[in-house]
């Protein structure tokens, strides 16, 4: 053992106590009788959007995650875990963040009360993509009980880099809408997650079936955007009418893999600068060979 059994037990004990204490404080939900969330429109007039995200072509082969440097995580998986950067089943695309991009301006929605959880299980973010509302609690959970750090590098929000050496939850909120905020673990370089922040509750992440559901929208015209970590973004406009369900389908395809521009909170990467702004006159990256850059990028950039 590299570290003392005693210490890990002590830490575990502290953890249990900590959780107990947290639970003790917890029941503010029931007695507090939350004021009924005041929606900024007549909910009786609401309509809905349903849709599907499709994928055409062959998905890239899953990237194997070499966890040999972390035996505890390695042991968690029966087969070598993969980073399913493009998660496709029967032509349906998962891990897509879908949200209302335009059409809700000026409306002030109550903060979603329930926390959204991004867990760390077997040294993988579960789920890899989450969405939350500004002000909503985002819980970063360490279920592995070994050292992770949660290093979020947003642009519009303030960054943070949390240490989580034991089983624990750490809560954070984001103040500004942002699509998307990258999250990574520096201890386990293969761990990459994404958090989308909207100013309203109309956002969803597709599961394996690729379907999504944005219900109870005020009637009106909207721009809906779908974001994928490798395939970039797509927009659709849709009209929502009272009591009706509008249908939207997004279709991503294999050929977008090489051309996609993926909006991320993190705007500056060394190998993007020359391409993005060749005339800038900044000499910093003049000798970073552009040809090698994108292919060697370990992840979306």
């Amino acid at each position: 053992m590299r570290y003392s059994q005693w210490t890990s037990r002590a830490l575990a004990a502290v953890l249990v106590l900590g959780l107990a204490a947290a639970c003790g404080d917890a029941p503010d939900e029931a007695p507090d009788e939350p004021e009924e969330a005041e929606m900024p429109f007549d909910v009786g007039t609401a309509g809905h959007v349903e849709g599907m995200v499709m994928y055409e072509g062959d998905p890239p082969p899953p990237e194997e995650m070499d966890m040999s440097s972390e035996p505890d995580c390695d042991a968690h998986w029966d087969v070598t875990p993969t980073r399913d950067v493009v998660k496709v089943s029967d032509g349906h695309l998962g891990d897509v963040f879908v949200y209302v991009k335009e059409g809700l301006e000026g409306m002030d929605f109550p903060t979603t009360r329930q926390a959204v959880v991004m867990d760390q299980v077997g040294c993988r973010y579960t789920p890899m993509v989450i969405g939350a509302m500004t002000g909503q609690t985002v819980t970063f959970r360490n279920s592995d009980g070994l050292l992770h750090n949660v290093n979020a590098t947003p642009t519009n929000n303030r960054p943070f880099n949390l240490s989580q050496p034991v089983n624990m939850d750490t809560d954070r909120t984001f103040t500004e809408p942002e699509v998307m905020i990258p999250v990574r673990c520096d201890v386990h370089g293969w761990m990459r997650g994404y958090v989308g922040i909207a100013s309203h509750p109309y956002h969803v992440v597709t599961g394996e079936g690729g379907s999504f559901d944005l219900s109870d929208l005020p009637p009106g015209d909207y721009v809906i955007e779908a974001w994928h970590s490798q395939l970039g973004t797509q927009e659709q406009t849709v009209t929502v009418e009272t009591g009706e369900t509008a249908q939207v389908t997004f279709t991503f395809s294999e050929d977008m893999l090489n051309t996609a521009v993926v909006p991320l909170g993190d705007p500056i990467y060394p190998h993007r600068v020359d391409q993005a702004d060749p005339e800038s006159g900044h000499g910093a990256h003049e000798h970073a060979p552009a040809a090698r850059t994108l292919t060697s990028a370990p992840d979306v950039r």
Binding site: S69, R158, N161, M168, T170, D266, P270, H287, R292
Partner: protein
Amino acid sequence: MAGLLVLPNGGPLTAQEADLERGREVYDRWCASCHGVEGDGLGPAAGYMLPRPRDFTRGLYQIRTTAGGEIPTDDDIMRMIDEGMPGTTMPGWQDQLSRRDREAVKDYIKSFYAPFETMAEPEPLDFGRAPRATAERIEEGRIFYDSIECWQCHGDTGRGYGSSGPELEDDRGYPIRAVDLTKNWKFNGGGSVEEIYRRLRTGMDGTPMPAFSDLVDAGFMTDDQLWNLAHFVRSLAPDDRPRVREVIRADKVEPGQVPRTVGDETWEEVEKFFIPLVAQIIILPRWFDPAVDGVWVQALHDGEEIALRLTWHDRSQSPDPAWMQWQERVLEVMEPVEGDPVEPDPRPDRFAVQFPPVIPDGMERPYFLMGNSERPVYLWQWQSDRDGAEPARARGMLDVETLSGSIEADAQWEAGRWQLVLRRNLEPSDSEGRLHFETGTPIPIAFFAWDGDNAEEGPRGSVSSWFFIYLSEDPPPSTYVAPVVAFLLTGGLGLVVVARAQRRERALGGGTTGDPDPAVHPPPHDDHRDDGADGGGDSGPEDDPRPPP
């Protein structure tokens, strides 16, 4: 600009505008070449630096007194401007610029990140006072270091060789190294226990180093435990930064006693001389990101042979496949502009010791970067994928010719550190191009190191300037001192014994002298143990506060 209205010490708007204009002038003159005119960290010189200069447009600052993710206080920014950042290319400006200019630059830097205008200046955290360092605290800290897995990045011994190393990147995707905790003089935010504790609490935004404040606040660890950890980290480094001395002394030992292996215990008593190594940025292709920043040199001779033990920190035993991705990333951002493109390649680690072919009269020495066509140098070259080392003659870094014969070598990489013993007869096997070591005279010596996994070879490596090595003509003074002390002790005690015996004789009227006290035996003869100049702080991190696992 309007935001400056909320800055403290605000005067009339025009004065503030004038101050900001002053800040811009000073910034453009002194800061922009690295940090960029736009404050984006992309100045013309930035490409030669790793870590890259701070990008002020993101409002992210490593060294703060505020919680993780918070903006810094004005004092935090001033401290960086005034004192600079050890371990980086950022110098301190306290002695270069007036207080007013530095304040103006600070305000101008803040103007690159708009939220400074709207956010209230944050409160610094309360860090309390450092508890006194005790052996118990340091031991507790060590256990804590292990249990919360600091070694994942910093390595068991703290030498920065943890398994996460090859993948680490900063907030902008540039490769970044976990700091070698045994060299606290290179800590970006300072190496005192208080400063270490602050980095633990606040984290270092923009780097992989996370903040621990949340853990303390949530009761997962106590503040005391964090102080213990800080004390332990501090204990990994020497009390004082190693002093650099011009002359390496090679003491003389008994014939046949020159140690042959890195593990020979004789070395533990031999003084260590720290030689700093710096980037080779003169000969093309230059290299601005060398991984090896210093070597500890120990030397002994016995009149027949000379041996050097060289100790330097290196995060990997090259070529290590795990570090290939590091090499790719470093080359991507640091590839030399000059010469042929450099490809990632499995490269060995290398080390070279340089001498003049003959001991020069006076101070005139060959060019320190491996000589030139007129004045070659004599090298001992070692590389990690071969047994032994070989002699060579160089007429410049790009003109190295192997000589016949060999240099005896023994090398070992362990826990983030190379140790290498090189050994040769004082008299060369063949006088052609090879130095004849003489005792009692200073002999020029210089050093080169290459980290293969950092894409280093040829001119791309780290170098020292010329130093001297001095082979003592006779055993060190301790050899004389010890017998003298022994003689005096023996003599003195002998007198005591005699006096006592005489007393007893008088008392008893007998003639016995009694056994002398066992303590009067002379101390065991040891060439080195009594050597008063054992290095102390000079030996630095190599004192190994904790053995490798």
